[in-house]
């Protein structure tokens, strides 16, 4: 096997949005376990690094009504990943878990359990939200100020690391002869005092096989990038073009270095869609059809409303853009997903200019402006593109988002994976007994105390 840089590959089981073409006759259940099992088995057959699950904690609403055009509903992230742990053997299992509506003791326990059940394949994609809308499903409601989101998330991850460290790697003796089950009297003892949490006691899950499950963070804002650079092993982005990717990678890796880490300690993993055809022209044709299915007339209006922040239901999706400007004053027309707040008027300007230049209807415009991060072509073309990104330093790999569930990865695995393996860009076999951390090329878990020291150094340097 060559020593050339390996491409990290993840399969994203699509969540609740308009990615999945549910109208397609080949589209299966988004809920039943067999769908998750099929995609995980496909990914494992393709020697992928991991399967990635998103999460949502409240059904989205628009114009005050539950969103009904796209896929709605999904099972619990932890339960699905735990169930997948027993039907896969090498695939990493990445769960998106909210840092606002979970407590460190519980979430650390769940990830430690998942890591034990999977023999070292667990990972946590840390996301934040703090709106009262989602909070209405939880005891404490939307209690967190927006600016405290990352603060709580940072402390939550740090506290989880402290809990994972609370059992020494060799804490369990299990020696029947001497009658010693534990090597230490105080296994699991912890005390954490911070702005967000003040907790103490004994953690009750032994140290996870990976030491610390792998931490991912999604987010492109400056705050999100800094959070990832300080806290995460990998960052999930949306930068789908080569130049954007290079700029983004340079920026976050430089931030990691400023945080006392090496550039290689933070993997950059854009989420990308892909359309595979027999030829490039064939793929382009499929892409046009898929995009129109993803952006139905009703969906086009709803997506436009998210920028305009107005009820546009009286507009014709096949007609021109609204003459009125976006409403930047009123509360968001959409609830349950991040609202575009910054640069809304500029965005509207850009949309108008684009629509005018290319003579686009609302739907055509939305199709065009929402197709970021999409690789379209024959298997050869897609393999070349993936490789080009990684070799150019635009990313360390990809989180691939299929548009069909559950068979959306099958063709990629059958056609693109062998091409990547041929050129030594993807493993031919998993290393026996390797953990996700090892598969990703990450160093062994850094102790919580070191993470805390780094944070302390930064604060000292800043003051």
């Amino acid at each position: 096997m060559s020593t050339r840089k390996q491409i990290i590959l993840g399969a994203h089981f699509p969540g609740v949005n308009n990615t999945t073409v549910w109208q397609d006759p080949d589209s299966g259940s988004q809920i039943e376990f067999k769908s998750f099992k099929h995609m995980a088995e496909s990914a494992e057959r393709g020697k992928f690094d991991f399967l990635f699950l998103a999460e949502g904690l409240r059904l989205r609403e628009q114009r005050g009504k539950i969103h009904d055009l796209d896929v709605v509903g999904r099972p619990d992230t932890f339960a699905v990943l735990a169930a997948l742990s027993s039907v896969t053997s090498n695939l990493g299992l990445i769960g998106t878990i909210n840092a606002t509506f979970n407590e460190p003791y519980e979430v650390a326990r769940q990830f430690a359990t998942l890591d034990h059940l999977s023999a070292g394949r667990a990972a946590w994609n840390v996301v934040t939200s703090s709106d009262a809308f989602t909070g209405a499903n939880f005891r404490r409601g939307g209690y967190l100020d927006r600016e405290l989101r990352y603060e709580r998330a940072r402390e939550l991850v740090q506290t989880a690391r402290e809990l994972w460290d609370s059992w020494a790697p060799n804490a369990i003796a299990a020696d029947k002869q001497t009658g010693r089950f534990l090597n230490e009297e105080n296994a699991g003892a912890f005390a954490h005092t911070g702005d967000q949490f003040e907790i103490r006691g004994r953690f009750n899950v032994p140290r996870p096989p990976q030491g610390h499950p792998v931490i991912l963070q999604a987010g492109d804002s400056a705050q999100g990038r800094e959070f990832a650079a300080q806290t995460a092993d990998a960052i999930f982005t949306r930068h789908g073009t080569l130049d954007e990717g290079i700029a983004f990678s340079r920026d976050v890796k430089a931030r990691a270095v400023r945080n006392g880490r090496s550039a290689d300690d933070l993997k950059v993993l854009p989420g990308v869609g892909f359309i595979l055809g027999d030829t490039d022209a064939d793929a382009e044709e499929i892409n046009r059809e898929v995009r129109l299915q993803q952006v139905s007339p009703q969906t086009a209006i709803l997506l436009l409303e998210q920028v305009w922040n107005r009820d546009l239901s009286s507009y014709d999706a096949d007609g021109p853009l609204p003459k009125v400007d976006p409403d930047v004053e009123s509360i968001s027309i959409i609830q349950g997903r991040a609202r575009i707040v910054d640069g809304v008027l500029e965005t509207a300007q850009r949309y108008r200019a684009l629509a005018e230049a290319k003579n686009l209807s609302i739907r055509e415009l939305i199709v065009e402006v929402t197709s970021r991060g999409l690789f379209v072509g024959s298997a050869r073309t897609i393999a070349d593109k993936l490789d080009e990104f990684v070799l150019a330093g635009a990313s360390d790999g990809f989180i691939l988002v299929p548009h069909i569930v559950p068979h959306g990865m099958d063709r990629f695995v059958d056609e693109v994976v062998p091409l990547l393996q041929e050129r030594g860009a993807l493993r031919a076999e998993y290393d026996s007994g390797s953990t996700l951390r090892e598969n990703l090329g990450l160093t062994p878990a850094t102790p919580a105390t070191v993470w805390a020291e780094r944070a302390g150094d930064l604060e000292a340097a800043a003051s």
Partner: protein, 416 residues
Amino acid sequence: MPQIPSSVVPNFSDQPAPKSIQLSVALDGAGWHPAAWREPGARPADLFTSAYWADLAFEAERGLLDFITIEDSLGLQSEHFGTGADHRTDQVRGRLDAALLASALGPITSSIGLIPTVTTTHTEPFHVSKTIASLDYASNGRAGWRVQVSSRRHESEHFGRRDIPEIDRKWARTEHGRRVIGELFDEAADAIEVVRRLWDSWESDAEIRDAETGRFIDRDKLHYIEFEGDHFSVKGPSITPRPPQGQPVVTALAHAPIPYQLAARGADLVFITPQTIDDIPHLVAQVRDAERLVNRTGTPLLIHADLLVLLNETQRGATERLARLNASDGTDLRSDAAIVATTPQQLADQLVEWSAAGLDGFRLRPAVLPDDLRAITRGVVPALQRAGLFRAGYEQDTLRQRLGLPEAVNRYAAIA
């Protein structure tokens, strides 16, 4: 020890066919005896692997048991009830999250019910609801939930959000103690109600995939649960569609009137702890009183008795085995449930006799794993089968059906 007849041969010639006995096992670590992990067949180094639990679940399924429960708590095991972790190094400490463990067992088992313990005091009911619903999906309708109140102060210190006073027996009988405990159980009843409403919050046919109108769901078949209680409020609907069973089976272990009332308010099945057969009518009456007190409607609670069992081919062998384990641990085994050290045949006889005294079934707590689990599946079950009181194979698909619970009616669909 009460005198147990050596063999009960039922004579039902002019009576209706005897009711089958429902039978489950409660799995916890290396078994319920603190020295269990030191037994030759024990696998103490494997307690935190999925293979260990898969083997136990497969064995229980080979024995055609109705379900397994998996113990859990938010604190480390301890020899003290209320005051937090101890410093013993000679007993099993540490455990995996039971709901995730049950989820891992879902796709690799095919028939047995899976009932993890999940606490209500600190855990968000929204999370509990989707976790158990998803377990129901991963097991095709075999999920349950054992509700547990987390009343211990040291567990509340793991969350740091609320102050729960240290609870001991004496204080629990004071007026203040009763009020605090009552509130914790009221909150648990609210948590069950929220979880159940969330399970109903999607009608079963809400997903329509109507290409004509472009609608994936019929939003009129999704319902806000609008729960407002003294302790929290939850809006809903769930993010997870209604699980295959509609309502997974809710269970609770109870030893006293307040917990009986919690079970009567929210559960389908209650585990009780009679010490002798003479306790049964009295305890059953207490459960029924609790049902009346809370105005329970619908199906009465299924009542299962917990027994901690240690089995051997001979009575003498069982007694000696218990003594040996006790000596190994340094103290005599204690339990809230009756401890039965006997032969598989005698245990089967006892189950037949106790069941006739007014129980629907039993949850056996094996003293040593896998030894006592095997004695149950390969000794006790065949004895019950010979008596015509236990199935010869799995017949029903879902756990609800197997336990004889009626189809779960969706409260929101019923109104519509």
